[in-house]
Subunit: 274 residues, 2 copies
Amino acid sequence: MRPRNDSRPIGVFDSGVGGLTVLAELRRRLPAESTIYLGDNARAPYGPRPADEVRTFTLESVGWLLAQDVKLLVLACNTATAHALPLVRDVATVPVLGVVRPGAVSAAASTRAGHVGVIATAGTVASGAYAAAVGEADPRLVVTQLACPELVPMVEAGQLSGPVAEATVSGYLGDLFGADPLIDTLLLGCTHYPLLRPVIEQVAGPHVAVVDSAFTTALAAEDLLDVLGARTGQDGPGANRIVTTGDVATFSAVAATVFGAALPSVEQAVVAAV
Amino acid sequence: MRPRNDSRPIGVFDSGVGGLTVLAELRRRLPAESTIYLGDNARAPYGPRPADEVRTFTLESVGWLLAQDVKLLVLACNTATAHALPLVRDVATVPVLGVVRPGAVSAAASTRAGHVGVIATAGTVASGAYAAAVGEADPRLVVTQLACPELVPMVEAGQLSGPVAEATVSGYLGDLFGADPLIDTLLLGCTHYPLLRPVIEQVAGPHVAVVDSAFTTALAAEDLLDVLGARTGQDGPGANRIVTTGDVATFSAVAATVFGAALPSVEQAVVAAV
């Protein structure tokens, strides 16, 4: 057990900007906690990379975060969670939360019909991580996955609503519900997708529950701090650092398009000898 | 962080026999883990007792379990969780999981309409613990609670199905859905109630999701062991001890009525100088 009133920051890792949805939920839920976000934008996206490379890059990035003396590590990256979570847990000296399991558990709790749909990037779908995690929560559930390669570029271009977003989401969900009309719970298996949640909910209709990994992972982090007695003892707002391995101006521009003006200033770091 | 491959047992505490539903789910999910269950039957039920007394008795019981060198403590008792969880976390040297939060989080994930019903004992309803935990997960949700004092005695008498069980459950659920017809998620806020789940699901109908604290707490325990890297490294089935502070024959009779013949033999322990 860690000491009580642990004021060290929570480390949040993603290959790029998508994990900022998880960070935003963490900050909303736990405003007194300090956070350090690391985006490995210099090497993003991880999705198309071989699993070995994803593991190496994730370990390097996580090593940098651990060196900042974080008390909890959140892998806010589906690709890193799918390929490297057990490995990160082996090397980390602090608890490690992945982004897959909390959403999968919520989806398993949510479905009435026992039919869950998962939308994600091609890489996450190919990893089967969500299907496995939903099945681990409840083996009776039927899971149908669909890769939606156009959604991340659309979000990063700031297209979060309007006719293009609606048509694109409608196309994908039409395919998904065509493949399994019994789906009553839709799991957003990509950290970018919570930004499309209003459009997705509208297209999916009121009888489909939308489960969002950013929301569920932040909730799991809050719970974990309570279970471990590791919340900060400080009352004021926590400090927040955002760090990228890539170009600061590019990162800030995409992040601001997506997340608005409230983003803290962005720093740059080198996480590995390249 | 604990060392990897931690073969110490999981401690499970309840005031009586109800927590055996949580134990059963834990053993189903984590057959390689060892467990020690303590029922404080000599002083059960805790529900009608003043909060101060619940805290004292819980701390004494938990102290006994901690002395058995458990790696994780599950408060499988709604009354103890409602009144003593923060206190237990303050004194415990291991992570402590309550039985309220996992079910509340699942219920929050499950509802479409935003209306959650909670059935529990009078004491748990009066504590407001489930309503608070659901609201903490998502403050927009509307929670309606109903005390169902006849259900625990009915379960302990072995009445898990048939006309009496159906009529009793129908009466309660009629009141609950009468109070809020928009309820689409029903949270079983008492560890005895999972044994009535088939009847409850049948009476509630297919459009109401039933969320069961035993299932969700066991899932949370499994997840926590993964996050902490604290699963046992042993492959064979874990050892299971069941201990009561009360009369062994009485405990065994009620437990066997409810849980069948698979129950391990029951030991007796004294947890406090009375």
